[in-house]
Amino acid sequence: MFRLEPRSTRSYTAAWASPVLALVLTAVTGGVIFMAMGKDPGAALYLYFVEPLTTGSGLSEVAVKAGPLVLIGIGLSFGFRAGVWNIGAEGQYIAGAIAGGGLAVYWHQSESALLLPAMLLLGTIGGMTCAAIPALLKTRFNANEILVSLMLVYVAELLLVHLVQGPWRNPQGWGFPGTRMFPDAGTLPLLLRGQRLHLGSVIVLAAPFIAWFVLARTRFGFRIKVFGQAPLAARHSGVSSGRIVWQTLLIGGGLAGLAGVIEAAGTIGQLMPKISPGYGFTAIIVAFLGRLHPLGVLLAGIAIAVTYIGGEGAQISAGLPKAVTGLFQGIILFYLLAFDLFTRYRIVLPTRDTIQE
């Protein structure tokens, strides 16, 4: 068997190489899976990982899909750095869409220029509110934030279904679940003719750079890092654990809520029973794949978005089930976690003469 030796400094090469290696190995594994399904692995992999990047509309769709992933992933990386495990971003995303979208539902004839900013703000607050529940229960009652935030995903999903089937259902919708289309004043303007790329993507692009500055240069960023690595040392230096739990959950929830309302007001244009292909959960992978580094999260979000689009394309043109995308996401994370080892340890293979038998 091999032996593990702790490194005296972290290996930055390993830190950057491991996400890349994880992606490559996932593609290889994917090829094997396609072969097992009786598909041509080369063609299928091309559909998944390359095709989306070859057309203008593909690139636009990648940007549209990457948007929520990056935004939520950035928010989660604050929490994960601090060891606050918010895994209910999906619920906070839905809460944001409900809060912000609800405004457009009630003022569906509004032409006010204030409607859109108000929606974005309310969406953020909605996400924060949903994240405030685990924060409150964690700091007041010591309840595990993983389980509480996750349970709220189901609650938010059910609430959304109830709203779009009941009180908020489009009266002219022939009984289909879903709200009215949002008014123009409540819709994010498109950036390119004929593409779904909208203003939301620009908002999203600012997030990684702001987050990078906050994490690298501010006292707040430093405290998050210390709290995640050594809670006792953080307390010793005067960091209040309750404050960090609140702050990171509100950031995560706020950004997830913002992503939700951007999706509703940009890509979809209304509220429907299902407004997310699991962005909130996939963003967990994005955050880890980006090594909890804001710029890494940006790249990871784009990479994962490609597989989403690829999955849709492969479903249409090759009849491959969309679920493959989810499988790939799990596999990427497995590989990544396995390679993480190399950033902390070096592997030492025993040679004959070092062990006395």
Partner: protein, 314 residues
């Protein structure tokens, strides 16, 4: 008068039976996770392992026509999934929380892919155990002896785990490994091997719980059909303060809430169905809050090494 009482009792009996069937997947999954956590490993992948168990169990039953083979396949599939987790966390020392999440995401994707062709298919379900005489006793007979065999297996496994932990030598060793991996290693116990075994048992049980859902409880396959039961099982372990007896109590409680809200929806109480469906999740949160309030007590009951990586120095 007696007839009236008997009649009203009989209307209650089916709910109690269904309550047990609703509780059984939780009993399996939570018992497995309890043993796993007692060894000091926190596996958050229960939901994923249940889904994997559910889909492989269903597929096997659909192909072979045997629900029993299906259950076996479910258990084995759950265990294999847990071994991925074990290799990553125990051999490669990855973060247990992140790896557990990865397992759930992986299980969700894998089960959706495998189950793609089985959506909407039906299979023959396993019958209930009919014991001559015993099952014919009025009321009690149906109440106690009218279930499918897995309900009894679940209770048996749970009681067995309680006995194992508190009265067997290997159970004592398992607790010791969860209490202080360093001490157990110093005395000479194979910490990693013991944890591998505990994690596998957790996977086996989660797989069985998933298989129960798709083969007996519903019986059909639908994407994401566990609907958070894996997470509720995790909450149950905390709720039970890592004691098997309380797991049973908690599982029946949750089974009861699940059935009660279904019945209430059917009865049409005027409360929107969505709000009734939220009940089990909200109940989980409430229970967590109640049980977690005393932080020191939780820390006393929780295995001291829970979630911490262990590397043997040689």
């Amino acid at each position: 008068m007696t007839e009236l009482i008997l009649a009203s009792v009989l209307t209650v009996v089916p709910p109690i039976m269904t309550m047990m069937t609703a509780a059984t997947p939780l009993v399996f999954a939570a018992t497995g996770e309890l043993i796993c956590e007692k060894s000091g490993v926190l596996n958050l992948g229960v939901e994923g392992m249940m889904l994997i168990g559910a889909v492989f169990g269903f597929a096997t039953a659909a192909v072979t026509g045997s629900a029993s083979l299906g259950l076996l396949a479910a258990a084995v599939a759950g265990m294999l999934a847990s071994l991925i987790f074990a290799v990553l966390t125990l051999t490669l020392l990855s973060n247990q929380v992140a790896t557990g999440l990865a397992l759930t995401i992986f299980g969700t994707g894998l089960s959706a892919l495998v189950g793609f062709d089985y959506v909407g298919e039906t299979i023959e379900r396993i019958g209930t155990v009919h014991l001559p005489f015993l099952s014919d006793i009025p009321v009690i007979g149906r109440l106690v002896f009218g279930h499918d065999p897995l309900v009894y297996l679940g209770i048996l496994v749970l009681l067995g785990s309680g006995w194992f932990l508190n009265h067997s030598r290997w159970g004592m060793v398992l607790r010791a490994v969860g209490d202080s991996d360093v001490s157990a290693h110093a005395i000479g116990y194979p910490v990693v091997a013991i944890r591998f075994a505990a994690v596998s048992f957790g996977g086996l049980m989660a797989g069985l719980g998933g298989g129960y859902l798709s083969l007996i409880y519903t019986p059909l396959w639908a994407e994401n059909m566990t609907a958070g039961r894996g997470w509720i099982a995790l909450a149950l372990v905390v709720f039970a303060s890592w004691r098997p007896g309380r797991v049973l109590f908690g599982a029946i409680l949750f089974g009861g809430i699940t059935i009660a809200q279904l019945n209430a929806q059917a009865a049409g109480l005027g409360i929107p169905a969505a709000f009734m469906s939220m009940l089990p999740y909200i109940a989980t949160i409430v229970v967590l809050v109640l049980i977690s309030r005393d932080a020191i007590r939780i820390r006393l009951n929780a295995p001291a090494c829970l979630g911490k990586p262990f590397r043997a120095e040689r």
